[in-house]
């Protein structure tokens, strides 16, 4: 493969790659809107604003389009992924949907290890996109899925390219190259705080590193569940989980620990007061962003809303329906 990643990463010049058919879809990744929260922030002074990056505008429906595309392109350019080899990874859903989306577009087979308790919506979407699914023990959660994927990769290295989103630097680099610069440009350089949930940690580490370089005083704040057993689907409780190799805690200024019920209430408020029908990890990020904003006399707090609420509709307790 002859791909100039520094130029073509998510850009319009993807036609230089031999994989001509994918140009259209790839160019739609990133450049998502930054939406001000208005009613849930009504108690804040006018000098403080909270802006949310609306990542469900990506073609695969979540922020995971960014790292998935970069992981795929990097593996292709390095010759690690080629015709006849399948991409393998473990996922809680969104990364799998992104892999399956671009895998379908590129003609690359995708095999995903997903905990069997993934929401029915996610499993249906993955099947519709043609991914091969291996369902792992639901009691073992995401870490169980990681262990299964590692074992499969070790047993059949000729069959699989193990994408390993938790340890693959192409994950955070996607956010360094796209999410971070977009936030800086969309706030005209005024961003003072970035608040994001930690899953793989790629978003906050990548976008945070970019912002820290260009604006050294920016504060980088992580949101984590406040308990190892929680309902914040997509977020990791790092102290008790398999720690992603890309998670560099030294980049962060602060961690906020969010309770599931707070995030559930926020998901309903965002839907009913802002018209933002977002997923549970977005709601947890909003809880964190508001806590940060409430401490400020002035500032621009940016947070990340990874996906929309559609994939969580079967969770009736979340929506109170």
């Amino acid at each position: 493969m002859d791909v100039d990643l520094s130029r073509s990463l998510f850009g319009a010049d993807v036609a230089v790659t031999p994989l001509r058919a994918v140009g259209g879809l790839e160019t739609l990744v990133g450049n998502t809107p930054l939406i001000p929260l208005r009613r849930v922030t009504a108690h804040l002074p006018s000098t403080v604003q909270v802006l949310a990056k609306a990542e469900w505008f990506n073609p695969g429906g979540s922020i995971k389009d960014r790292p998935a595309l970069n992981i795929l392109r990097t593996a292709l350019s390095q010759g690690k992924l080629h015709q006849g080899k399948r991409l393998l990874d473990s996922t809680s859903g969104n990364m799998g949907i992104a892999y399956a989306t671009f895998g379908a577009a590129l003609g690359i087979g995708v095999t995903l290890v997903v905990p069997a308790n993934a929401s029915p919506e996610r499993i249906a979407i993955l099947k519709a996109l043609g991914a091969e699914l291996i369902l792992s023990d639901p009691s073992e959660g995401s870490d169980g899925a990681i262990r299964v994927a590692r074992q499969m990769a070790a047993q059949q290295p000729e069959r699989y390219f193990y994408a390993n989103q938790y340890d693959n630097p192409a994950n955070w680099q996607a956010h360094y190259c796209t999410t971070g610069p977009e936030i800086f440009q969309q706030t005209k350089g005024c961003v003072t705080h970035l608040v994001a949930g930690l899953g793989t940690s790629g978003t906050l580490i990548g976008a945070g590193r970019y912002l820290r370089e260009i604006s050294p005083n920016v504060q980088l704040i992580a949101v984590q569940p406040n308990s190892p057993f929680h309902g914040l689907e997509g977020l990791k409780h790092m102290p008790t989980a398999i720690r992603p190799a890309i998670f560099d805690e030294s980049v962060l200024d602060q961690t906020l620990w969010v309770e599931t019920e707070e995030a559930y209430r926020m998901a309903r408020r965002l839907a009913q007061e802002e018209g933002l029908f977002v997923g549970i990890s977005a709601a947890a990020a909003a809880v964190g962003a508001l806590k940060v904003a409430e401490q400020l006399e002035g500032g621009t707090v940016v947070t990340i809303f990874p996906d929309a609420g559609y994939k969580y509709l079967s969770d009736k307790a979340l929506w109170g329906i």
Binding site: S90, T91, S92, G93, N94, M95, P115, N117, A118, P138, S139, E140, G141, S142, D143, G144, Q165, Y166, L198, G199, T200, S201, S227, P228, F229, H230, G231, L232, E233, G234, L235, K236, H237, T240, A241, T260, E261, Y264, K316, A317, L318
Partner: protein
Amino acid sequence: MATIRIPTPLRPYTNGQSDLTVSGETVGQVLDSLVQQYPALRPHIFNENGELRPFVNLFIGEENINDLQGTTTPVKDGDRILLIPSIAGG
């Protein structure tokens, strides 16, 4: 007596045990017995009002108890109850 499967994140509160045999004629009674045996589990499963926290998913075999009779769902000898965590990052 039913068996209840404890998910990985909660095993620190059950002395590392993953499968526990617990008495009770309904799911609610099984959970009460469980938190009496392992009190440190209580705040993870129940809220301050003693209600099941909204993200706690319980299955008997393949069936979610919310599709049966909730915590009043009868439990038979030998039933296997799964306590399922949500899915973490990525």
